[in-house]
């Protein structure tokens, strides 16, 4: 599986609409759309700048919901997950945020700074309508103990977002710890494990799938391509498209081998 991430509104919503379409038509199985935030502590430099550009351009969370709604109207059926730090969710009001997400066609919420221990309130709000309609994605990390992984798995109602390294998006890391984490996760659950942070190429993706992951999440590597042409980012769409196709290729080949 190939999952791609973009910060909506970087550098403007027109480009993000086109980028989302390019990602989905070039082979991304799942899309993550991020709400740009002023203090994105889990993000490396590339996404920090993406957030800054988007916010400077006037993007608000409401425009992100509109963007997702437009993708649905254009007939894209792939799962779309909404990524947001918790501050905007809390300030906008949990009820309102959940309602907006559901009506826009969001499949689940990825909240990088909401520990299991702080999720009760949001869970309660989601459960008030249809609890299965919106999942909260749980994170596993190379620092997680076996006991912690069990809690994470138990709370997970969708895929598990596995952070490949101790760092931020766009970092580089060593895969020794990741292998150990994936082995432990696989021994504890059949739930899908998607690995994100620091995946820069088809080669990285292939390697991570070989280690046992069910999918890879790619984000900063995409923004890295269009930031070079930020004044007319549309020009980078063909390059992004072929990058996604090559990533997709490396995720498919593994399956072929399995069937041999």
């Amino acid at each position: 599986m190939l999952i791609t991430h973009l910060y909506y509104g970087d550098p403007n919503k027109e480009f993000s609409d086109k980028l989302a379409e390019t990602l989905l038509t070039s082979g991304s199985d799942i899309l993550e759309i991020g709400i740009p935030y002023t203090d994105p502590v889990c993000d490396g430099e590339i996404f920090q700048r993406a957030c800054k550009r988007a916010i400077r351009g006037g993007i608000t969370p409401l425009m992100v919901f509109d963007g997702i709604r437009r993708l649905r109207e254009r007939g894209f059926k792939q799962p779309i997950y909404l990524t947001s730090y918790y501050a905007p969710i809390y300030k906008m009001g949990l009820e309102r945020f959940v309602k907006l997400a559901k009506s826009a066609g969001v499949s689940g919420l990825i909240i990088p700074d909401l520990l299991l221990e702080e999720q009760a309130e949001l869970r309660k709000v989601i459960a008030r309508s249809d609890p299965d309609s919106l999942s909260i994605i749980q994170f596993a990390t190379v620092y997680s103990s076996r006991e912690r992984l069990k809690q994470i798995i138990a709370a997970s109602t969708s895929f598990i977002y596995c952070i490949s390294l101790p760092g931020v998006t766009g970092d580089s890391g060593n895969q020794y710890k990741l292998l150990k984490l994936l082995k432990t996760l696989k021994s504890l659950t059949d739930k899908k494990i998607f690995v994100g942070f620091g995946i820069k190429s088809g080669k990285d993706a292939k390697e991570i799938l070989r280690l046992g992951a069910d999918g890879v999440i790619v984000g900063s590597a995409i923004a890295r391509i269009y930031k070079e042409k930020i004044s007319s980012p549309e020009k980078s769409l063909p390059e992004i498209s072929s990058f996604i196709k090559s990533l997709k290729d490396s995720t498919i080949k593994r399956k072929d081998k399995k069937h041999d």
Partner: protein
Amino acid sequence: MTKGYFGQFGGQFVPELLYPALYELEKGFEAIKKDKSFQQEYQRLLSDFAGRPTSLYFARNTSEYLGFKVYFKREDLVNGGSHKLNNALGQALLAKYLGKKFIVTETAAGMHGVATTMAANVVGLECKVFMGVKDIARQKLNAEKIQLLGGVVVPVTRGAGILKDAVSEAEVSWIRDLRNTHYLIGSAVGPHPFPAIVAYFQRVIGEEAKKQIFEKEGKLPKAVIACGSGGSNALGIYQAFLMNKEIGLSFVEGEESAAFKHGSIGIFQGTKTYVLQDEFGMDRKTSSRAAGLNYPARGPQLAYLYSIGRVKAYTASDKNVLEAYTKMANLEGLLPAFETCHAIVELFKRKGKYKPDDVVILNFSGRGDKDIDTAIKLC
């Protein structure tokens, strides 16, 4: 009360990567409270290295001018020039207790950066200080002092290049090496257990002040005034007086970063508290000239005390702060930090508002050498 909460304020709004570090820190914090050799070493450093107890100074000239008895709790006399060392020493020892090798921290005015570098040095740990590029320009002396003391200053360009951005960058550096690194947060902010840890190591201010005022006046003060943003010096002195409900606890924030006056409840840097924000929980613009107050959020415990009315909040503007700086220099021969001047502004506003025998304690949180350049330019 839920774990890590003060009323509805506090909590742990952090990435999962930090979960084991906060868990370890919580356990370590509980352990050192009962650890005799830790406490002995902490007390030894507080007295012999930091220079505690600090004096409670009867400010005669100020008292005559205002018409009531004013005492300054002289935290500016702590080694390094502010109350920051109390917490830095405690946490550096805690880091050592947990087997860490490196300290990372952030600083705005530079006082906490200096204190942390000193504490890391005396305890035997390496220290890296993240500082916004704008703050480095404003507080050149302290940035240089940190390097002289063996610390490494890392300039932060992310965001607006101010304290909140330095916090994010320090946190990332922590995440990258949790096993060997302790993030020494300088104020009563951030995720649990940090606000509790900082309050614990700063409570010595109030404990001393309460004992000293009894010795000097044989009675309790009518009011205690402190400045702040996260609130470490304020909580440090308030804690001893919390149960004495008749004592007014006054907190002065910068008008240009007034999260109590202009903010609302939100999530910021790991905690639920009062923060300056727009309708989407973002856009935390602050412009206080006192770098140490230029933080868009208040600490969760302070937020709780404010929400229940135990602490009353006031503001002082950059303009009034400059007046207080020169006035204090003339009246008492003391140079307060711009941060401390905020509390002094509020003190001066109370001229004639108490009886001549009434006592007011002002927490004189730091000395103002670091602000001389700016003061000379503007006065």
